[in-house]
Symmetry: C2
């Protein structure tokens, strides 16, 4: 099991289903070995708990926002400068803290981190491990995690916003599997219901698009794994595809992407309050190809950003 008894922490609360209740408090890691490391190099972030004074740099972080694309997360950081009224001193500029590695970008704007995670579960997993350790070494408390993503929708207008109530894999299983020393461990993927509902309330204030709470299917492959007919390989028919997508839609799946399962499973395992909010860029019941213009896609991608920015402003008493 993912929470092996010998390393459970005394403060963990569980509800009747054995779930770990998301909680405020210090960001904890579940790894007793870290205490014995003389230095921990966060290799893919180009940071270290010895070479960098992580508490001085990061102890005030309260919101960590992830997204796939480095450019989009840079723009989100710039957007947050305006939204939070942060004054950047003359002669200074926002900088990618992880510029020494070209794997991810990491920006900090007051209490907000903006981090790219690349595409797919393995890529997200690496940066999630390292960000958790970063927050732990920096002694951060009461931190909330968000994923601001793009996705294919099912039966909803492109440009709609989906807030994930549960993430499942391509076989509708609600857990992430990690082959660990020869065992396939299953890490359940739960998200914070209250946070979902708070984000929906904010999203619903914008009448220009539809916002819903729904289940998200998370796949390991963009083409065949999502039932697309337009990959380099395809050995199913258009009828096979539509029958499958309709069946998963009937079971509550509102959108499909490639990271939610890992995000939800790792946040849950760390007992963090977290939410996933994605725009949809295509209705997969109608099309495989993403043909919206660059400008339209940019506008759609701003929708989750505006919702989370408003939530953060509310939390900070700026609304």
């Amino acid at each position: 099991m993912s929470d092996f008894p010998r390393f459970m922490e005394p403060g963990d609360e569980k509800d009747i289903s054995g779930r770990i209740t998301p909680r405020d408090g210090p960001v904890t890691v579940r790894n007793p070995h870290l205490e014995h490391l003389s230095e921990d190099v966060l290799y893919h972030l180009d940071l270290s708990n010895k070479a960098n004074d992580l508490p001085v740099m990061f102890s005030d972080v309260k919101f960590v926002c992830f997204g796939g694309s480095p450019n989009r997360m840079k723009k989100f950081a710039e957007f947050m400068v305006k939204e939070l009224g942060v004054k950047i001193p003359a002669g200074m500029a926002l900088t990618n803290i992880s510029h020494g590695s070209d794997r991810y970008v990491l920006y900090k704007v007051a209490s907000v981190l903006s981090v790219s995670h690349g595409m797919g579960i393995p890529s997200l997993s690496i940066v999630f491990h390292e960000v958790l350790k970063l927050l732990h070494y920096a002694k951060c408390t009461d931190v909330k995690f968000f994923r601001l993503g793009t996705s294919g929708g099912l039966g909803i207008e492109p440009g709609s916003v989906v807030i994930t109530e549960a993430a499942v894999d391509g076989l509708l299983r609600p857990y992430m599997e990690v082959a660990t020393l020869g065992m396939v461990l299953q890490h359940p993927a739960f998200l914070d219901k209250n946070l979902c509902e708070e984000l929906l309330e904010i999203a619903n204030q914008d009448k220009a698009y539809k916002s819903v709470i729904g289940k998200t299917m998370c796949t390991y492959d963009f083409y065949e794994g999502q039932g697309r007919l337009d990959g380099a390989f395809c050995d199913f028919t258009a009828e096979d595809k539509i029958a499958f997508l309709k069946r998963v839609h009937d079971r509550g799946i509102q959108n499909i992407e490639m990271e939610s399962l890992c995000f939800a499973a790792m946040a849950h395992r760390a007992a963090l309050k977290s939410a996933i909010i994605c725009c949809t860029v295509v209705d997969r019941l109608k099309s495989d190809q993403i043909t919206a213009s660059h400008e339209t896609l940019e506008e759609w991608q701003m929708r989750p950003q505006r919702v989370v920015a408003k939530y953060i402003r509310q939390q900070l008493g700026l609304e």
Copy 2:
């Protein structure tokens, strides 16, 4: 099965084990639906078979070189300019052909493409699908694929070069699984033996480091999936870890990384001649952390690049 009979192509040759023999000839896709698309937008490459004249741009491509890091693949393109003696006209410069997308970089130097694939199987899978379609639309023939990577070694000096003879997953299974419309399809991962041996012969000419042919373990997770004790989560002991790594090493695994299984499975499915050549950056039987200096890592990463560059020069009659 991955090669569903109704879409098999007439020219496929199989050896006695049912393997598709890698072959020269046109780069083919195995998807009858593509013929019926009025336009195919290669979304993550920011190219299209309608908006771009792909045969004019790409028909001379003979070598496609992939690597995880965008900076590394930019440097490889610059390196190939020198190695191939390409004259760049005054006022011009190499440019990232996919600059309109910030997901991957794509450089072209004469008959060589240099492409980044990000980290992990899902990220590689997306760009592999789109590059295959690109080469198909461009009517390329006799193309060879290479992955130039970094990896953790097992029982070999960091800086060594491993050429992959077979890729397996974290449970030592020699195939990639893709959940496809509710079925878990297994795509076998084979590589080209002759190409491996040709690369080893070139690598062995450099006596500054050791080069070997061996099996590669490909995982979906960098920390727990590779038996690391230094992730945000860990519920096994140092003894558990070493016992596991020694057992896989005893079965011929020389290095561990996160893309080989997908690379080998997709290249095999497309009947492409392909090879995977990685430097090792740590000996996982001794350490989890990558602590080599930036300069040392840069030098190690050049080793697979130099080997493949020399192979390409030989093929082009430049040696």
